[in-house]
């Protein structure tokens, strides 16, 4: 049996929640699915206060924003399925969802969405070195989930690779949880993230190794991480022989950036673009956050890795545009709402980091205009064609 919904939103992070709320407020029947136990995505592990303006929840901690959004979604009659994984999207706007039931069993549902909003977020990049698959090597985001959401320490002595904001913030949070960050390793000549985060790490006395990388994860008798071999790198980021030193540790965390999760847009044959600043391949979209395929919208990190506040605004735009496509909002009303949120997005894309992202996003919008122009209806696959036989 196929369930019918006006809007199916995949991913209940900030983008998906915001999209679901906007579409539901306009009167759409919305199903929001997420594979996790809780809605809110990465917001629930962000225990720090947000920067920026009041409109972007400045001074509020990430998990409080998450709670607020979940409450708003529930009040707007959004149907939320948790522990529900979108395992595929198929011709004819069908989303297959594997849902874990109360009794622990699994059931596969097929939901037809008149529109679909894909807000699947991003996944962590890995760095490969000798021993990188040992137990104890993990993404910095995974370590952050362990301490902030599950309240479990990933280990005691941590070597962090990468000094972008994620590397800095997670290092600090690991220390708050009682871990020792014994080294922060960065291949570039200087720290990548915001000075305010770096200062906290410095004040805590964490040894910082710039122009260094990890060349090997050493293991104990059981194979678990027992140390990190680090080495200095040359201008081409190649390890310089003879500069190796060993740092005893039980955990190595990798903060090497994120890449958009684009499997579902690829399954729908949505056109994509390559934007290194935004994390790699991303689905091309227009000002409505609509992809090259009519009725398929995207929002948040899945369209390029940025910040939670940007994801929120993009989600709202996608939600409004989907409601407009369904005829639930007048054009005038929809356009003015979208413009309002676009102004907020653009205000977030300022400063040295934001400007690069702004330029990359403008490039995506322009390429869309030139190559796709208007979203194309999905070609439905019908019964067996008889032409050839």
């Amino acid at each position: 049996m196929i369930l019918e919904k006006d809007v199916v939103v995949v991913g209940a992070g900030p983008a998906g929640l915001a999209a679901a709320i906007e579409a539901a407020k306009a009167g759409a029947a919305v199903l929001l699915v997420d594979l996790n136990l809780k809605a809110g995505g990465q917001l629930f592990k962000q225990i720090h206060k947000f920067f920026g303006s009041r409109a972007h929840y400045s001074g509020t901690r990430g998990y409080d924003i998450g709670k607020k959004l979940v409450k708003e979604a529930t009040e707007s009659q959004v149907e939320i399925w948790l522990q529900s994984t979108a395992v595929g999207v198929f011709p004819g706007n069908k989303v297959s969802i594997e849902r874990i039931l109360q009794n622990g069993g699994k059931k596969l549902y097929t939901v037809h969405g008149k529109t679909i909003i894909l807000a699947t977020g991003a996944s962590e990049n890995v760095v490969r070195f000798k021993g990188w698959t040992r137990p104890g090597v993990m993404g910095a985001g995974a370590a952050q989930t362990m301490v902030n959401v599950d309240h479990v320490k990933p280990g005691q002595k941590i070597v962090m690779l990468g000094s972008g904001n994620v590397g800095l913030i997670v290092s600090y949070q690991l220390m708050q949880a009682g871990c020792d960050v014994v080294a922060l390793v960065e291949a570039a000549p200087k720290i990548g993230g915001y000075a305010v985060h770096a200062a906290k790490i410095r004040r805590a006395g964490v040894p910082i190794f710039t122009k260094h990388t990890i060349v090997e994860a050493l293991g104990d008798a059981e194979g678990k991480v027992s140390g990190a071999v680090i080495a200095e790198v040359d201008e081409k980021f190649q390890p310089i022989p003879g500069t190796e030193q060993t740092i005893p540790c039980d955990t190595i965390t990798l903060a090497a950036g994120l890449k958009p999760v684009v499997e579902l847009t690829r399954l729908m044959n949505c056109a994509s673009a390559f934007e290194p600043v935004l994390g790699g391949f991303i689905p091309m979209h227009n000002q409505d956050m609509e992809t090259s395929v009519q009725g398929i919208f995207v929002a948040g990190d899945a369209t390029g890795v940025e910040e939670a506040s940007v994801a929120l605004e993009e989600g709202r735009i996608a939600g409004v545009a989907a409601a407009q496509a369904l005829g639930l909002l007048s054009q005038e009303d929809a356009e003015s709402q979208k413009q309002f949120y676009w102004n907020r997005v653009n205000s977030l894309r300022s400063g040295p980091f934001g400007e690069k992202r702004l330029a990359a996003k403008q490039d995506v919008l322009q390429c869309y205009q030139e190559q796709i122009h208007t979203p194309q209806p999905e070609v439905m696959i019908g019964g067996l064609a008889s032409g050839a036989d």
Binding site: F90, P91, K94, T110, M268, N269, I381, A388, D389
Partner: protein, 394 residues
Amino acid sequence: MIYDVTVIGAGAIGTSVAYHLCQKGFSVALIDHGDIANGSSSHCDAVALISDKAPGLDTQMGYASIQHYGELAKTFSYDFEYDRKGCLYVCETEEEYAAASAYAKRQASDGYDMHMVDAQTLQEMEPFLAKDLLGGIWTPGDIAVCPYKVCFAFVEEGKKQGLQVYPYTHISRIRLSADHAVEAVETDRGDILTKRVINCAGVWAPDVGRLVGLEIPIQPRKGMNLISEPTERIVWHKVMEFGYMMSKFESINFRRNVSPLVEEYNVAFNIEYTKADNILLGGYRGFRGFDVRSELEAMQAIAERGIRFYPCLKEINCIRSYAGVRPYVKDHLPIVSAVDTIPGFYIAAGHEGDGICLSPITGKLMAQLVAGEPTDFDIQKLSFSRFANAQQTA
């Protein structure tokens, strides 16, 4: 330099043709618009069988190709996962069993190692098969190979003999001389001067043909398979339903007792294990243009048909499905041929679901054709001119 031969298409056919030409001492360039094994040869299943061939030339070529695979597996340093697993065609009804017996008898009388096994033997060979099956055809010599590794193996072995490979190279024009002979292939990476061109572009062969004004009647036919999670061994051979013949040779008209969904998607059960302990479950074929998106209903139909033959599949998770396009020719015969009107232009394409099986023999035949030697088989039936004749008589 001027190459003796430029091969267009680096799939199972093109790489084999290129390798066999190098063996004969020709200088060869191999071009593809993508990577090696970028198209159908990485979106198919893994077997090379004679038990799915019509008696006669089809079987002869299949058999010769499978024997050739065995020799290549011994001599190549590149491992392409040659596995002589044998094939079982299983029968559901008395009617099927009778037809299968007649088919096996005919093939055996031609000298091929193929015979019927009864229900009990079937259960001993494949204990997880449904208990109600009547028996089947056993062909011990049928094999499996890793299709994309076959392509890489031919390329790596060809390079040892001077093969030049140009991946991600787009052809804009095939330049002909004043007397209409092949002169050069113009690409976005420069001109490749060549005495001959062999069009091995499979489903894309018509695009290449159009560059020299030929209409090559090949159409993309979609094929789709499911992949399971790694499991304990539940299948030991290639196992297929005899009804598969029906989807392959439409002239054989069996009525199967199947659900409307299975009927609509023309699903023919076939199963095999992989080296990584996954199960590959097929299959469906249909005409969808170049759209290779997975279809939910087709997936359900494949699973349904699979569970009918292997009830324990119900307990195993499907982790992925994939589809590819097969180069379909209406008379189900490939084109392995020179083109009379364009000196130096050849076609080796249109193998539909048999490209992996026929790859070695096609390469060998094409090399013989180019060298002006007698071919191992009379390949008049595979000539491109058969279509011109058909059009004239129509």
